[in-house]
Every structure is written in C-alpha cells, then in structure tokens.
Symmetry: C2
Subunit: 320 residues, 2 copies
DNA sequence: TGGGAGCATAAGTTCAGCCTATCCTATACT
DNA sequence: AGTATAGGATAGGCTGAACTTATGCTCCCA
C-alpha cells in the first residue's frame, strides 16, 4: 500500500537534482542503484514519475505531486533530527516537569529562570498537580520528571514496584499553626494533648491523615475525632483560614515563612523535632536521563542546598 | 545523517499503537523484526524514543517530537499516493494544458466544462502562450500537453528530433480580411496581386512571414516590401485595427466568424482554396499518457469534429 | 565519425532484515 | 505461592533486496 520509504528518499534526491547520476553521487551510491530504486518506486505507485528525455529527466504530474509531499517532510526531518538527537555538548530542548502546586509555584519558576541564564536553549513546561496525577503523567511519558510530596509511605502509589526512582530532594518542615489571635485566645502556651485536641482544625481535603499523624508524632497517641471546622481542597485557602483565626491547620513552614517571622501566624512548637515532609524527585526507573535533564537536576539540587532556600523549609533556623 | 526512512515507518506504527506486537501485526512482520528496527533507529538517532516499562512503551520527549514530524507525512502520503497512483478506472486529477491564447480562450474552457460534466474529479490548469514557450514548458514537464499553432515548418522548434509527438487536431482557415468600408474604398472586387500589395497591412509582431506566405500561396510570387501600418503583439488588437478600417490583416476565420457573417469584415477570397493553419496536439514523445489525458484528448478530438465547431474554422461552409 | 554524457540492463555478491526459538520480567489468575 | 500469560529482548540462521561492476543504448557535440 504505502511505498518503500527509502525509495522516497532516493526519489527526493533525484527530483531535487533532476538527475540520476547526481543523486547517486549525493547518496554515495552507484548510478544503477538509484536507477533501479526509481523504477521500483514507479512500479509500486503504478505511475511513471519522470519521462526520460535522453539526457534529461522531466517530472510528470505524478512526480511533481509526490515531490510536494516528500519535500516538506525531508526538510522537517533534517532540522528535526538535529534537535532530537541527544545533545552531547550542551543542554537544550524542552523539559517537562511536574510538581505539587504549593511547592512548584514558589520555587520552580525561579530555578527555571536561573537555569536559562546559563542554558538559554532550554525551555520548560511545568505542570502542577497532586501526587497521583503526576505519577500517571510520568507513566504516560508526558513528564520528564516530577517533584512529589512523599509524606505517605512510598509504596502506596499503585502497586507498581520499581517503576519509579525516588530521590529525596529536600525536607519541608510541617507545622501545626494558627493565627496570633487564635493562639492567645485558645492556646496561650498550653501545648498539652488534651488542650490541643479540643480546639478547631482546618484540613486539606484528602490529607486528614496528616493531622492524625501529627498527634501521633508528638504525643505517641492517636487523636480522637477532631473538630474539623474547615475542610478545603485549596491549600492557599487553608492558609487564609488559618490567618483569619478559624483554628489550627497543618502547612509547610516555607509557605508561612513570612507570617511566622512577623508573628501573625504562630506555630505550635514542642520539644520534639518537627515533623517533616519529604519532597522527592520522581522519575521513571528505566528512563535514561538526557544531558538536559541531568544538568537541570544538578542545578536544582545545588540550588536547594543554598541557605536562603533551605531556611524557608526549616523553622529551626528561623527561631535563632 | 538522515535515518533510514523505513525505520521511521515502523516507528510510526509503534508510536501510534503504543505497542511493538501490535505494530508487528499491522506491518505483517514478526515482533522481533519490529523490535530490532526500533533499536536500530534509536541507535541512528542516538536517542531513546521509548522508555520500556514492562508491558508498556512510554514515549520519551524525543519520541514524541519525532512522531510529530513523521505523522503528518504518513497521513499526507496515504491520501497522496491514492491520487497519484494511476487511476485505472476513472479519469481524475489535474490536467495541465497549454495553448495559443487566441485559440485557447475561445475553445478550451468549453471543452473543460463539458468534460467535467462526465468527470467532475478532473481539474484543469490552462496556460496560454506562444508556441515556443509552450514547447519549453512541455520539456520542463510543467504541461501535460499543448495545442500549438504549427503554421511554421515543424522542425523549426529547437533542434530536437523526436522529443515531441505532433498530431494534427484541426485546421483553422487563415483569411486576409479588412473592414467593409476599407474593402469598398480600396479593393472593391479588384483582388489582383498588383492592387493588393499597394494597400495598407496590419501584422502580428512576429508573424510577418505569414503575410508573405499568403501572397506566395495565392499568386505564387513573393510580395515586395508591404506597407505595414500597424505591427502589434496582440491579436485582439489586430482584429480591432481591421474593424476600424486601418487595412488588411491575416487572422483565423473562427476569430472573425461573426463579423464575416454580418458583413462588417470582408475576407479577400480567391479561386484558390484558402490557406490553412494546422492546430496540433503536442506531447512529449516518450511520455506515457495517463487515462485522464487519453480520455480528455478523445473528448477534445470528438468535440472538434462537431459541425458547429468545425464551421467556425471553415469559411467555405459559411458561404453556403 | 568517434567520444562523452546520461540512463537502462545484466549478472554476480553481500549483508540487512526477517524468521524461529528462547529468555526475561511483571502481572493476572487460582 | 504457583502458574499462566503477555510484552518485549536476544540469539542464530537464512533468504532476498539492494548494491556493485560491466556493458549497452542513444543522443549530443566537436
């Protein structure tokens, strides 16, 4: 049905050069080889592509049409292959990165920007989603890698055993916090289990477990049913609720870094080390990383280790 | 440099079906064959196109890019090949026809139109030019055939021996004519050599030879230098000049058929049979005519034999 | 009138691509 | 757990497609 594609390549050269010998030379083939390929193509298409005119090849209407189909393809391919071919020297091309929205919107653009100062040939496509959609996108090949909030036990995503490689990137400190007013009115220094569990709470829609975990982490006992006054599927809105004094909620330290600094939001600190949430780099296990990917990841990891970034994730440094 | 094109075809199927076995089945190949082709393509491009995920193939960024290049080509080719392939059953496609303007503008559109009543899949590209540009276009493969005014001895076009096949299509009668007024004032029945050569003449730019030939044809002697009052490169303008009474000029009977009928233009008739100009069908000798071409040419030749067309070319029938 | 240029044809050779068989690993089923 | 299944990779052998050289044909040109 479809003709042999390599013959189309030969045809393209013949048509472009209007000569079999010239095409043969360009293709590093002998003249009969090219001549035969052309004849076979014409046989396949059941249509003469050139009328032989002594020394000249005159394309027929069919030949002209075919060339119009083949020509743009060859041209696209020529430049396309160059950019597809793994860049061995310099990073380039498009990087498709997934991340949780709260984390990504704050940090990723700045890393992309600083990376492009050194490698302006690299472009980015960021996708902010929850963990499980990101995993799906990775599996579908629509992301090169993702940054995921791996608070949950790792194995939980699907049954897949070793599909993903998971490398910890940074720990974000999780804090239970409320507004200054709420703290003074309801807590006022009493960080006891009994006092805390009697108050109001705000929670992310699907992360009620984190609250429970918080109590287990600090008091080694499970909290009974908590009074969730606001259940919401937007972390930004949750933080707003905290600021308004609706109650206590768990959030990442870096997200309320400023507010904790000026005292408008108060973290419930205890003697124990704060609970952490591991942000991990997730990739397809078997995927061979490109130079571009490797370079960017190095950039990301180095950047994450800088004090000004690290501090935002570590409340302790703030208290000093 | 460029990858093997057939591997691209294989890749296209793999990507489209997201499976090697499926692609193998569609291509009527074994699974290892397809698997190997893909590996070789990846080696050629020095870039992995899929990451192997157990049962799944997940395209990499490179794979996605490549597919975006290959996909439109395959689609274009699929439909393109159908129309390129010589239609064995019905005429279709585009016919590129050349003709002299005077002849073509009057007759060709009507033949194209009537042909399309039976074969609406056929489209036309008409090119009106003088004989020698038409020959050049034929040689360059930009016309499928041409109708040419072969008044001149055939061999004159370039030195080419048998490049063209020349088949007479119709004879157009050439007449020397002037306006009714001019005839009554200057000729008034005196068709003698001496009288005629003393009058005023109009001539097409490059066809002065035809006038000379006219005199040789009717009187067997060469005319001396004629008084050319209007030399012009538009035959339409020449006819206008004749109508205005500027003098006598040679034109084709069918172009002034109406005017001769109503007497506003008078042909100089003699006892001898009128001089004729052969309109011939010219093609590349070695070109294998397509079904579409053959069918249209039959249509054209049959149409040309119809009385209502034939009469326009033959002044004698008018006189009856 | 012979030489050169361009394409077609003939015949021999080689290697790319295909096949079968087997292996490997993850998943689905019992 | 044990088995079956399904998708893909690997190994090895074979066939034919595509390449080569040599030659023929035709036109063009000096």
């Amino acid at each position: 049905m479809l003709p042999d594609f390599n013959r189309l390549k030969v045809f393209h050269h013949i048509y472009a050069l209007n000569s079999i010998v010239a095409a043969a030379h360009k293709l590093h083939l002998s003249q009969p080889a090219v001549s035969q390929q052309l004849q076979k193509l014409e046989a396949e298409l059941k249509a003469p592509l050139f009328t032989r005119l002594h020394k000249k090849l005159v394309p027929t209407a069919a030949g002209t049409r075919l060339f119009q189909i083949v020509k743009p393809f060859v041209e696209n391919l020529q430049e396309g292959v160059e950019s597809i071919r793994q860049p061995l020297d310099r990073p380039s091309g498009n990087l498709r990165i997934g991340a949780p929205k709260e984390f990504g919107k704050e940090f990723l653009p700045q890393f992309c920007h600083s990376f492009r100062e050194n490698f302006p040939e690299v472009t980015f496509a960021l996708k902010f989603e929850e963990a499980s959609p990101l995993m799906a996108l990775l599996q579908a090949g629509e992301l090169d890698f993702a940054l995921v909030d791996v608070f949950q036990s790792k194995g939980q995503f699907l049954g897949n055993p070793d599909i993903f490689s998971i490398d910890p990137l940074i720990k974000e400190e999780l804090v239970l916090a409320c507004s200054e007013k709420y703290y003074q009115r309801e807590i006022n220094g009493d960080h006891s289990f009994q006092n805390l569990i009697s108050k109001d709470f705000l929670s992310d829609e699907d992360d009620l477990a984190i609250l429970m975990h918080w109590f287990r982490h600090y008091f080694n006992k499970s909290a009974p049913k908590l009074n969730i006054v606001l259940m919401i599927n937007s972390h930004e809105a949750l933080i707003s609720g905290i600021k308004l004094g609706m109650g206590m909620g768990i959030t990442s330290a870096h997200l309320v870094w400023t507010e904790i600094g000026n005292g408008s939001i108060v973290p419930i600190v205890t003697s124990k080390k704060n609970m952490v949430n591991r942000i991990s780099l997730i990739q397809l296990q078997d995927k061979i990383p490109t130079l571009t990917e490797k370079t960017f990841l190095t950039h990301l990891q180095q950047g994450m280790r800088k004090p000004e970034v690290l501090n935002k994730f570590d409340l302790a440094s703030r208290r000093v």
